[in-house]
């Protein structure tokens, strides 16, 4: 049993539930045709995203990937902003310019994800480089899928992070599939963590469905980074129990595999642990769910009532403004 104080564990549970409930609600909106783009959820993988983000401090930075709803919420993006983002509303963090989890906010230490997988990794190392140059004790955490690790940018990012001994922690959400592609068609190694050996980066494997384990391991690696000891690579084993997106039935995944992993659900697991630790009983857990439900309802109301952007706003913001003295 891991050693996490009650209040922290309950907060982790709250975020797990908030993430699950929010994404389920977004999926429902999608099925109602209210969301025009795609919906890719972190269903069954919430513990990774919540666990690592919760281990960071306020002025740290995350460079998340497309199944990181938990991290956004932990960093302070409100469910209302998030639903607005999915609905393309002006009140979303991108004001409708971008969709779904393609959002960021420097004030809350979040780099916006771009679709191109693994592009976020070199950028994450760049923030860490800034901290190193300026002698700040801040840390960057970033996340990548098993599939994303095949991209060249993964290689270049991990290599420079190690050569420069940067304060960055690489999380890998290994959910065994990249869209329809199973791990064995993605790489010839059984554990993604073996990739880290090419850079002399210490690697760890954790149960990605165990929020406590993710959290504690993340804490350790983040501390290492903060101490100036360089990057760590943490492979979080999990499974994508839903389709790649909500329009994918994922028939290509063996049914037994799905069944096996449904039992390992991170929320069920957290609930079991909370009870075993006597941190919460059924009633207490239920109260958290009620609180979450209310929040999500408020969020949806907020987002649905929010205005769409005006068409002409499409023209705004291509360039950042410059102080007058630079303009000439």
């Amino acid at each position: 049993m891991v050693d996490i104080p009650r209040s922290e564990f309950l907060q982790l549970y709250y975020y797990l539930l908030l993430t699950r409930t929010l994404e389920e609600r977004i999926t429902a909106l999608y099925r109602q045709g209210k969301i025009v783009g795609g919906v890719y959820t972190s269903y069954g993988m919430e513990a990774i995203s919540v666990g690592y983000a919760y281990a960071l401090q306020t002025d740290d930075i995350i460079a998340p990937f497309h199944r990181d709803m938990g991290a956004y919420l932990v960093r302070g993006i409100t469910p209302g902003e998030m639903v607005a983002q999915y609905l393309g509303k002006r009140t979303g963090p991108t004001k409708g310019k971008d969709g779904n989890v393609h959002l960021g906010d420097l004030k809350r230490g979040i780099f916006a994800f771009v679709s191109h997988l693994a592009d976020n990794l070199p950028v994450a190392t760049g923030a860490a480089l800034a901290f190193k140059i300026r002698g700040e004790s801040r840390v960057v955490a970033t996340n990548v899928g098993d599939g994303g690790t095949s991209r060249g940018d993964f290689h270049e990012a991990l290599n420079q992070a190690s050569v420069w001994k940067l304060p960055v922690v690489f999380f890998c959400c290994n959910n065994q599939y990249a869209y329809s592609t199973p791990l064995e068609n993605q790489m010839a190694i059984a554990d993604v963590v073996d990739r880290a050996k090419a850079y002399a980066i210490p690697g760890e494997i954790v149960d990605g469905n165990d929020v406590a384990q993710v959290y504690v391991t993340a804490q350790r690696a983040i501390q290492r980074a903060r101490n100036g000891e360089g990057p760590t690579f943490i492979e979080c084993k999990t499974m994508r129990v839903h389709g790649h997106s909500e329009h994918d039935s994922a028939k290509y995944v063996p049914r037994e595999l799905l069944e096996e992993w449904k039992e390992k659900d991170p929320i069920l697991k957290a609930e079991r642990m909370l009870k075993e630790l006597k941190y919460a009983d059924e009633g207490a857990l239920h109260l958290v769910q009620e609180r979450v439900d209310k929040e999500i309802q408020k969020a949806v109301d907020f987002a649905e009532k929010s205005p769409m952007p005006e068409g002409s706003e499409a023209l705004e913001g291509v360039y950042a403004e410059n102080p007058v003295e630079v303009q000439a």
Partner: protein, 330 residues
Amino acid sequence: MTLATTQHEVTYLEAISEALDEEMTRDEQVFLLGEDIGPYGGAFRVTAGFQKKYGAWRVLDTPLSESGFVGAAIGAAMMGMRPVVEMQFADFISCAFDQITEMAAKNHYRWGAAVPLVIRAPYGGGVHGGPFHSACPEAWFFHTPGLKIVAPSTAYDAKGLLKASIRDNNPVIYLEHKFLYRRMKEVLPSEDYIVPIGKAEVKRVGSDISLITYGAMVPLALEAAELLEKEGIDLEVVDLRTLLPLDTEMILESVRKTSKAIVLHEDTKTGGIGAEISALLAEYCFGSLDGPIIRIAAPDTPVPYSPPLEEFFLPKVDDVLTAARQLAAY
């Protein structure tokens, strides 16, 4: 050959599948590679059932490595294979940019090694894909000697141009417009045919103004032409079909006839292909021009996600009407 024996109506998307299927049957050297094209049949299901039919090595699922698998296709092409790469979305072609521009495009010029390679790129907006699933990447490659670029607007052209691309000995960027996938339908010939690379087509003959365009803007232009007809303006619609090399002859011929030109594309304006067409006209057609050359294109921004923004961003029928009326007044 697995040619259908009777005439049949197919969508633009089905036309692409048919071309691939027929070419794979015709030529053993043709093979496909890309992400999730195997058992899954591709993000848009273009290759559904192909792996069963042709086996895992000719319909090859790749790791998530655009540069890697485009590079592999180049190597295989030099060994006499005819690889057809699928980009899951055209947007991700930026990850393979270096292999395309430095390796594939320059090979034949430098040392005479042909690279018969096709890169299929599902492109374009109007499907609420946002900044990373709506790209029109043509201008980048348009400025890269050694490449060819095609961009069909109909099911007929989609099939014929894909076959021509596969049989071509050069690297061809094949732009298939996502918005047209299921919207364009027509009855195709049952015999084998190609649409030659390098040949534009007048999709509507007109006498007053030449509108030069391609891709998803072709149906839009035709719609505009019908409305303009009622106002007594007779629009000629030239569908480029091939973007590189441009069919300069047909473009000039049309404008020499009408003496007025509108250039229309969905891609953003500055440095787009429309600029080249304007420039060609301004240099080689100057004496025939009776009015300014008007360009209609998306504004210089990334493609926004939210529907009102994307609608504002994309060129509209109204833009064509306004431009045509303005030119008609000259």
